[in-house]
């Protein structure tokens, strides 16, 4: 991999936690600007920690995480749990990033409405979070991350609380937005099928301490129409990815048990 | 200063307690228009239990105030320029009292009685009696106001003011026996009209007029207390007219001394100050002697 000016770079990154010890050991990883990367790995391997390192919410114990300024300026983050503000309505929760950026009222209203419609919650704007179902909360959280049209979008299992239909629809939307806006997307998911369908590159991690097991390009083209999911190309690639993961992941599956 | 008498000068007089016969003459001068006659517009400010009258006078927030001799000397030693001008009492009406049913006949007996003695903070005579009698089984306890201690506990003596607390107790069905502390040879000066030295130096005329009005006020009050008592009862709803009359009747000898007329009214003399300072030096309330002559102005 040749270095790229506007890339997110992990340079020999290690991360230790006081109580639980080493989570990431000597990680080298480069994510190019405008890339759509899916991260996969067993539960507890360190995916969330990695995203937090990119976001600057966590500092590496050793090594360095370089994030280009452009990406640093406007970020969106979907936490693994929804983390809504209980005293704000759905609308106001989604509006928060724009409020912080000091956008005018009218613009906020328009953007929030667009964003809520995107996740299928256009009629839930007035509700308080405690009246939402689990999946609805996560969708609000996704809407909040998209509303500011970020140049770097970090998603931590954003769709895992959703039914397959909704999940599929949202993944398609996400890809469409990415195509239009050209931001960098780092997407943690547990679904290989989803990763292959939506991303251009899938990085598969090992159990703790996190290492890269496989780093696969996904050459399925820029446009990913719905029917791609029933196409032979997709099925073939998915089968190959499964295979690779099964091979390399042998050790990890044993670990996870 | 030679300002025309028709322009009344505003003066603030701060009491150290609510309206009572103790301040009768000051109110009488108001009731009878004597202040006005002397070109004064006096505002009398009732005090509270913890009103800091002396610092207020020293700092100029009050022009005149009421304090005890002990307070005046202590304040002067702390550098407050306070001067006493007029003494309401010629003999302190501070007393100790026990129930009439008690066998105690004197302070000397009380000091050997095993009673609790309830006395407020800073009473000069506590130390005096300690030294005089060396009581071993008497416990000095805080005085909580009123007479509830005495009513609740037959083996309790408490501080009182002549004509005040004994009447309260009697009204509650408990007659009392009263011992005047001054008779033991220790005497605070219980209610002094004070001002700050600066005012005295810079506005002699004002002080003169004030004292003149007050002198007349007290004479008037002692001769005919009824109108003043009506005012006091209104200001201090805890008081009734009959209680006020009783209090004045009992306190009158303490105000006028042994004299038959008004000749000793308000009098301030070196002897009482020297005695007081002697006690305070003895008991550690004063570190060293102070210049007594600047602590008061002789009256009349």
């Amino acid at each position: 991999m040749n270095s790229h000016a506007a890339a997110i770079v992990f340079d020999q990154v290690e991360k230790d936690f006081r109580r639980t010890g080493k989570v990431i050991a000597g990680l080298d990883l480069e994510i190019h600007a405008g890339q759509f990367v899916a991260l996969l790995g067993p539960s507890g391997s360190g995916k969330t920690t990695l995203l937090r390192l990119v976001a600057g919410l966590e500092q590496p114990t050793r090594g360095e995480v370089r994030v280009p300024d452009a990406a640093r300026r406007n970020r969106g983050y979907v936490f693994q749990e929804a983390h809504l503000m209980p005293w704000r309505s759905v609308f106001a929760n989604v509006a928060l990033p724009l409020e912080i950026l000091g956008r005018p009222r009218e613009e906020i209203r328009a953007q929030v409405e667009t964003s809520l419609a995107l996740v299928g919650l256009e009629s839930a704007g007035a509700l308080l979070p405690h009246a939402l179902s689990g999946g609805m909360k996560m969708r609000v959280s996704v809407a909040r991350a998209l509303v500011s049209k970020p140049s770097l979008l970090l998603l931590d299992e954003p769709f895992s609380a959703l039914d397959e239909a909704t999940r599929f629809r949202l993944a398609t939307e996400l890809r469409r937005i990415w195509l239009a806006a050209g931001m960098t997307v780092v997407f943690v998911t547990h679904s290989l099928a989803e990763a292959v369908f939506v991303a251009d590159r899938a990085v598969v991690f090992s159990q703790r301490p996190l290492r890269i097991l496989a780093d696969l390009p996904i050459p399925l083209g820029a446009e990913r129409p719905d029917r791609l999911r029933v196409s032979p190309a997709y099925a073939e690639l998915l089968a190959r990815v499964y295979e690779i993961v099964a091979e390399t992941g042998d050790a990890h599956t044993r670990h996870a048990t | 200063h030679g300002c025309a008498p028709q322009q009344s000068e505003r003066v603030r007089l701060g009491l150290n307690w609510k309206a009572e016969p103790e301040f009768g003459g000051f109110y009488a001068a108001q009731v009878k228009g004597l202040y006005q006659a002397h070109g004064l517009d006096v505002q009398i400010i009732e005090g509270a239990a913890n009103a800091p009258v002396l610092p207020m006078v020293a700092a100029g927030q009050l022009d005149f105030g009421i304090a005890t001799g002990l307070e005046v000397l202590a304040a002067r030693q702390r550098g407050a320029d306070i001067v006493a001008l007029f003494s309401v009492y010629q003999k302190s009406p501070n007393c100790l009292m026990v129930r009439a049913s008690s066998s105690i006949r004197s302070i000397a007996e009380l000091m050997r009685s095993g009673y609790d003695v309830a006395v407020g903070p800073g009473q000069l005579y506590v130390e005096y009696l300690q030294r005089k009698y060396h009581p071993v089984n008497v416990r000095w306890v805080p005085y909580l106001g009123g007479v509830s201690g005495l009513l609740g506990n037959p083996r309790l003596a408490q501080q009182c003011f002549v004509g005040s607390e004994p009447e309260l107790a009697r009204a509650r069905g408990v007659p009392t026996r009263v011992f005047v502390v001054a008779d033991e040879g220790v005497d605070n000066i219980s209610a002094l009209l004070v001002t700050r030295g600066q005012l005295l130096r810079e506005n002699q005329e004002l002080v003169r007029r004030m004292l003149a009005a007050i002198g007349l006020g007290w004479r008037d009050y002692l001769a005919d207390p009824a109108p003043t008592h009506a005012l006091i009862a209104r200001l201090n709803p805890a008081m009734s007219l009959s209680i006020l009359d009783t209090m004045l009747r009992e306190q009158r000898p303490f105000m006028l001394g042994d004299a038959t007329g008004f000749e000793r009214l308000g009098r301030l003399e070196p002897a009482m100050w020297e005695r007081l300072q002697g006690h305070m030096l003895d008991f550690g309330s004063l570190d060293k002697p102070i210049d007594l002559r600047s602590a008061y102005r002789e009256y009349p």
Partner: protein, 252 residues
Amino acid sequence: MISPLRLFAPLILFAVVVTLLEALSQSGIAPRYLLPPPSEVWATLRGDAREYLRAATITLTEAGLGLLLSFLVGNGLAILMSVSRWLSAALQPYAVFFQTVPLIAIAPLLVIWFGYGIPTVVVAAFIVSVFPVIVNTLAGCRAVEPALRDLFRLYGASRFQTLTKLTLPHAIPNMVTGLRIAAGLAMIGAIVGEFIAGGGLGGLIDAARTQQRLDKVFAAVLLASLAGVLMVGLVNLSARVFVGRWREPGTD
């Protein structure tokens, strides 16, 4: 659903307590010079209703102003302390000093600075009631969910934005708890202030106490407590209006 309970439960208990006190008093078990029978207190209160009401109004006003000061200054300080560790460490002991200094001991200073009358009493109410506001608001500000803090960091929110959009809204329930305590304390502060500066219910209590008019003392104390309950009630009401909305998730 809550309203009648809120009203009746204390009233029933009130009836029980009053009956008990009356019986104790009338039977002579509790001597009248210590505990006047409620009937007597009530008679006194009715007899001088206007005077008591006027005094209570004054005291309530003073306590209310003191509470307002505590609200403003206490929350202000708490916010500063939540933002800066240095300030927090430096100020905390002085806040305790403020809390522990007996008003009586600094009475001369108060009266000199603020004069006789209402200002001194307001300051007294403030001094006594500001500490709970500081401590509770500070606790609330510090308990913000770390994930939400992360969210604000992520969007590069300014300190001021984090404060107004996250910390303060989150601290509101704690603030209410602090104010609830401060409301009662402001009342007692006002009364003690009146022991120093005169006037109001404190002045009434002060005068009546030494005259052994316990009926008057208790009439005033009763009014003071009612005023205190009223103030706490107002705090609760504002809480219901501003906070209840999202802090009572069990209601749906």
